[in-house]
Amino acid sequence: MTTEDRRAEIDRRFEETFSVFDERMRKEQETISQERAGRAGAGGGSAGEGDGEGDSKAAGGAGPGEAAAGENGESGPGEDGGGKGDGKSGDGTGATSGDGSAGEGSNSGGTQGGVGGGVRGGSGPGQAPAGIPDGSDDDIVARQLREAAMKETDPELRERLWDEYRKYKQGTQ
């Protein structure tokens, strides 16, 4: 086998492993994008903004894959630089515009889910006094106040915690 033949064989194995790796990363990024979009949708966030971020990130991540596919032994430093530059601008824009809405949307959803579970599953020693709502729409702070009040054994402290809970709920409605 000549040097060229061996080099070609090594390159073939390089291509195989690059292909496997790129596919693994592509799937991982796809999964993350779907999860983020799912959370944004569940939370009632802006789907458009969430998608924008995902797409932008995916575009940045796809850079190496695209470069690898076409040029066997041609990916010199110049091309690397261009690829990195493109990825950078895509990432920057996406992250700036999309993070906020996706985050807000997803967390609203997560909070609502958590609240429901916490209240329904709550079995603290105390009981909620009259006039306290059922807590189904509690956010994290309200839920923590409620949990603290339900667990508190000191009547005075408990009443103060319920007062805090009432004030907080009034302030957030």
């Binding site: 940045g60 190496p64 967390n107 994290i140």
Partner: protein, 417 residues
């Protein structure tokens, strides 16, 4: 009118004054700074930076700095999973801050034991409770040159807590912007040649890690000082260099994918985290205020009692006696009031504990998830890296006709292999 000018009375008055002064001093220590705080703006690029001077920044996962001792954790109100979450959340904020300036190449959050970037940022969380944030930050570049080591401390910008729906700023945006500006100043202190060499050394160090027999000779390493320099550059058309470039693209791809995980993680915990910090901030403020009041009342009470007792010793009129008795009783009441405030302080302490435990329970699944995913992804990639190491070695031996092991100690190669 009674006379209060003898020596023992003056001593007692001085004691009372000292007590009062101490009280005022202690109270002064907890007086809050003016907030909202003026924003610090991270300086943005106003001109395009030449490609070969554009430095990539790697922000390693922060050191959560969790004490081993559970008692110490409780004393310092450190919740391990909350800290672990913060150690991932904060680098993302710093990354976004740096990216927004346009002063840098790629800015990435790196797993803690990740490979070297052009510029490397390490940070340890010293304090983070929603009210203040303290970070110990160390920055160096790929050549081993230290940029700076600095402790940052910031009080929360209360505006960030007042209207969380709009998400105006992180409460500690100023701290991240300050780090960004310090990084920029440190970079600007380098010459163009130094900046170019930083990027070259980072590339060679990566290559040397994967194929030391081929790339180590290009690096001049001062093991004693821990510094690196370019001995000479490999030929751009070297087949091993070309494959190495493509391997590095995969390394970037892996880190970019991990960064998407980190971004997703930050989004997942973002609202709960800001709410936890907001409420912890309020409780800490209230606790500090209650402590201040208790301290002042206690000290004023003590001063009144001391003054009343001394006045009683000196007076010989019924009116003076009544006044001194009133002073003593008033002082005792103030001391009792101060003691009563302990229940309020305790309540704030309990609230903080509940808040911390509750948020920790909420964030724990996300922390476990991100840790698991990172390990899985890196584990999977490690197999590929092992294969690439083998292939690079084979390629090197094929191109040079030299065994890779012995070549590791050889002199720098000349020209094309």
């Amino acid at each position: 009118m009674h006379r209060i000018a003898n020596g023992s009375t003056w001593r007692a008055l001085r004691a009372a004054c000292v007590v009062l002064a101490l009280g005022a001093g202690v109270a002064g220590c907890v007086v809050q700074d003016q907030r909202p705080i003026p924003p610090v703006i991270a300086q943005k690029a106003t001109a395009e930076i030449p490609q070969d001077e554009l430095l990539d920044v790697g922000i390693r996962m922060f050191d959560p700095n969790i004490p081993q001792d559970p008692a110490e954790q409780e004393k310092r109100r450190i919740y391990p999973d909350v800290r672990k979450a913060e150690a991932r959340f904060m680098p993302v904020l710093l990354r976004d801050t740096l990216e927004a300036t346009g002063q840098w190449g790629q800015v990435r959050v790196l797993p803690s034991e990740s490979s070297t970037s052009d510029v490397n940022v390490d940070a340890r969380i010293l304090e983070s409770d929603g009210r203040q944030l303290q970070l110990a930050v160390t920055v160096s570049d790929a050549t081993g040159r230290p940029w700076f080591r600095k402790n940052y401390e910031a009080l929360a910008d209360e505006r960030a807590y007042k209207d969380v729906g709009v998400k105006p700023r992180d409460p500690f945006d100023n701290l991240y912007a300050t780090i960004a500006n310090d990084l920029l100043a440190a970079r600007q202190a380098l010459t163009r040649e130094q900046r170019v060499q930083v990027h070259q050394v980072a590339t060679l160090r990566f290559a040397s890690d994967l194929a030391p027999y081929a790339f180590k000779p290009y690096l001049a390493q001062d093991a004693k000082r821990g510094t690196y320099a370019v001995a000479r550059l490999p030929a751009a058309d070297d087949p091993v260099v070309q494959r190495m470039d493509r391997v590095r693209e995969r390394d970037y791809s892996l880190i970019d994918t991990l960064n998407e995980h980190y971004s997703a993680f930050s989004e997942t915990i973002d609202e709960a985290y800001i709410n936890w910090r907001k409420y912890a901030y309020e409780e800490l403020e209230a606790e500090a205020e209650a402590k201040r009041k208790a301290m002042v009342r206690g000290l004023l009470g003590a001063a009144a009692v001391i003054g009343g007792v001394l006045a009683a010793q000196e007076t010989n009129t019924s009116a003076g006696s009544a006044a001194s008795t009133a002073a003593v009783l008033g002082g005792i009441y103030a001391i009792k009031s101060s003691i009563d405030m302990r229940s309020e302080i305790k309540m704030h302490g309990e609230s903080l504990k509940q808040l911390g435990s509750s948020f920790q329970n909420e964030v724990q699944p996300s922390v476990v998830d991100i840790e698991g995913r990172t390990l899985e992804l890196k584990g999977s990639a490690e197999q590929q890296y092992a294969e690439w190491r083998r292939l690079l070695r084979e390629l090197y031996e094929n191109e040079t006709g030299l065994p890779a092991v012995t070549a590791e100690t050889a002199k720098p190669p000349t020209g094309k292999r």
